[in-house]
């Protein structure tokens, strides 16, 4: 069947633009990304020992009371951060469970402070980063709670 001339140009152009924008473009970006940013391009994976235990960008569940806990509500449902005031409010419980003093835990939290407006605004911290720091710094307390 012959395609009427009126439709042949837009049909061919549709196919050309699909290959250009939908295939070539993402594949080229993937190639550049894998070479230039090997860590970021696969989701900023967090490691413990030699194992990948998640991504710093995606919240994971913590049940044991020795850890800081992420929040359950939020827009994405996987918010990896909590505000510093939220973190402070969790410190007494963690101190009880670990025997670490509140001062040590507050110092730890303060090391990981970030700001919502880059250099000002609300203070927050990444839950997984702080928990992995605690695990690596106090293996005697934490190794028991970490899965093999």
């Amino acid at each position: 069947m012959k395609i009427p001339e009126k439709f042949s140009a837009p049909l061919r152009m549709a196919l050309v633009s699909m290959v250009l924008c939908g295939l070539l473009f993402p594949v080229v970006v993937t190639g550049i990304a894998e070479v230039a940013f090997p860590y970021q391009s696969v989701g900023e994976q967090a490691t413990l020992g030699n194992h990948t235990v998640g991504s710093y960008l995606i919240a994971q569940e913590f049940n044991a009371s020795v850890f800081f806990h992420p929040r359950n509500d939020s827009a994405s449902g996987v918010d990896p951060d909590i505000t510093i005031s939220d973190a402070y409010s969790q410190i007494p419980g963690i101190s009880n469970a670990t025997g670490l003093s509140s001062a040590i835990l507050m110092n730890t939290v303060d090391k990981f402070v970030q700001y919502t407006m880059i250099s000002f605004g609300t203070e927050y911290m990444n839950v997984l980063k702080v928990n992995l720091y605690l695990i690596n710094t106090y293996p005697g307390i934490y190794s028991h709670y970490v899965s093999g």
């Binding site: 549709a14 970006v29 994405s76 909590i82 407006m117 695990i135």
Partner: protein
């Protein structure tokens, strides 16, 4: 409020406006057909694409030819993407083995992306294969932005009267892609990956968490979509949670970079308009009017303190979340970095206004097109009051121009209000969970406002995945996209050969006219939509639902 926030906002505006001005020089060389040093690189690429497409880029088109080629190309592109979504299980790059997308959802999705709306009744990460995200969604995000930009420059040529016509659609379309959207998106994609947005085709990653439970890391070709979705004012994200999802928007820096990206082209196009009509002040007048209303919306939204609450991401905080929401609707992008339920009714009303006006500054290309529509109507009203023949850019505005501009204006409320009424009277609203109360009304009213304005932010989300909303919003999105483009191209086509009066009676290139234009736009929007805002956000506010629902 802490003065640092005000300073920060002014810095963002300065960065956007300066970059947009520089970009407009490039746009002028691309669409004003001036010679450029870059031609040596781009001409061979363009010529190859013209040859593959079988088109003659030099052939001058009438407005009807221009529009029909644009429309038919968009239909074919949407149809190709529909085939990809509908048969994704049988196609490559589907490592998660997602089943084919049901026909009505696939139809809604491709019509949504192709019309630059990006209303999403699906969660991409659990519905679409890599190939569908690339050759379904990313593809249409590029082409819909290129179509909007093409329509705008054709309209500018006609209004300027300096180009002997409105141009050739395929030339504009291909140049929009190769010389504007693809280079910008390439740079932005690489920056976004550097800021933490994944870009991979290796499949999702199943990991054991610290405490030993299983977690799926949904990595994919995210950065290559996130760049064009903001640059092209598309807004449709890789993930259901859109730009709230950390893989799409990992940090405060990525957040402000993405805001910059969505503001860039819509801020640049008014400058381009000024250059193409041969009077830069005409362009500045459009930009100042648009930014004046955008600034009013921002100030109103910040008048009531929004606190970091449920539905917002901690890393962005309240300020960035409100700023994003007002901006994404003013620029009709529609991406969201927080749940709309998190905001008070004043922020929601500001969001409504952005989508009702559509040109403050509006989406890629079409934002300035709507501004020209308002200018035609305003000049007509001013002409009536002053008893003068209405003129714009030296050309007489005819009764036919005014009629077409008014139809272009009135199709918007018609496309919003009638489907909203049908949704409630047929029970379709209730079936999607919207009750007969202000909150339910806001949900449905917002859905069709967003669809008709080609915005794409919504309250419904996946709850809108019903046959009624998939089909009705698909129709509204396409009518709301292509009717105004056809009407404005028609006005422009007849303007292109009209005699110009070198000494116009009404000057449209100064602050006085900008003020008249702003008042006229606000009056038109308020007179049209006020009753519906009253039974929506205003009533919800009076009932005490100050903060969200």
């Amino acid at each position: 409020m802490n003065p640092l926030y005000v300073i920060f906002t002014l810095c963002i505006f300065t960065a956007v406006i300066l970059s947009a001005w520089f970009l407009s020089n490039h746009l002028f060389s691309v669409f004003g057909k001036r010679k450029s040093r870059l031609d040596r690189i781009f001409d061979p690429v363009d010529n190859l694409l013209f040859k593959l497409g079988g088109v003659d880029p030099k052939k001058e088109m009438t407005w009807k030819e221009y529009f029909l080629n644009l429309l038919i190309l968009n239909v074919f592109q949407a149809a190709l993407a529909f085939v990809i979504l509908n048969f994704q299980l049988y196609l490559p790059l589907n490592p998660q083995g997602f089943p084919d997308v049901r026909w009505d959802l696939a139809l809604n999705t491709v019509m949504s992306i192709a019309s630059n709306t990006n209303l999403q009744h699906y969660a991409g990460e659990s519905t679409l294969s890599y190939l569908s995200q690339m050759m379904g969604i990313t593809f249409l995000q590029f082409t819909s932005a290129a179509s909007g930009l093409s329509a705008a420059v054709a309209i500018f040529r006609g209004f300027s009267g300096k180009y002997g016509g409105i141009g050739n659609f395929y030339s504009d379309f291909v140049r929009s892609l190769t010389r504007v959207l693809i280079p910008l998106s390439l740079v932005a994609s690489v920056v976004l990956v550097g800021l933490g947005v994944p870009q991979s085709l290796n499949g999702y990653l199943l990991v054991k968490t610290v405490e030993g439970s299983s977690q799926m890391l949904q990595i994919g070709p995210v950065a290559s979509m996130t760049s064009i979705m903001q640059i092209g004012t598309n807004g449709g994200g890789y993930f259901g949670a859109n730009s709230a999802y950390p893989f799409e928007n990992p940090s405060p820096i990525s957040n402000w970079f993405e805001i910059f990206l969505m503001m860039l082209i819509p801020t640049s196009v008014p400058f381009l308009f000024g250059k193409m009509v041969g009077n830069r002040k005409e362009g500045s007048t459009v930009l100042i009017s648009a930014y004046a209303i955008y600034a009013m919306n921002l100030i109103a939204a910040f008048a009531v303190v929004t606190t970091l609450g449920q539905g917002m991401e901690v890393r962005f905080g309240a300020f960035s979340s409100v700023f994003w929401t007002v901006t994404t609707t003013a620029f009709t992008t529609g991406s969201v970095n927080a749940s709309l339920y998190a905001f008070n009714q004043i922020v929601i009303t500001a969001a409504f206004l952005g989508m009702m006006i559509q040109s403050v500054p509006g989406g890629v290309g079409v934002g300035t097109m709507y501004m020209i529509m308002y200018i035609v109507i305003t000049i007509f009203i001013v002409g009536l009051m002053a008893g003068r023949t209405p003129e714009y850019l030296g050309a007489k505005i005819t009764p036919r121009d005014v009629k077409l501009a008014l139809i272009a204006f009135l199709q918007h409320p018609v496309l919003i209000l009638i489907p909203t009424a049908i949704a409630f009277s047929t029970g379709a609203a209730a079936a999607a969970g919207a009750g007969n109360n202000p909150e339910g009304f806001i949900t449905i009213f917002y859905e069709f406002t967003s669809a008709a304005a080609n915005n794409g932010s919504d309250f419904l989300g996946t709850a809108g995945n019903t046959a009624f909303f998939n089909i009705s919003t698909a129709a509204v999105m396409w009518l709301g996209r292509f009717i105004p483009i056809a009407l404005m191209l028609s006005i422009s086509g007849s303007m292109s050969s009209r005699i110009r009066n070198p000494s116009p009676g009404l000057h449209t290139d100064n602050l006085t006219f900008a003020a008249i234009l702003v008042v006229s736009i606000l009056l038109l929007a308020v007179l049209t939509f006020f009753p519906f805002l009253v039974i929506g956000p205003v009533l919800a506010y009076l009932e005490g639902h100050v903060n969200g629902f």
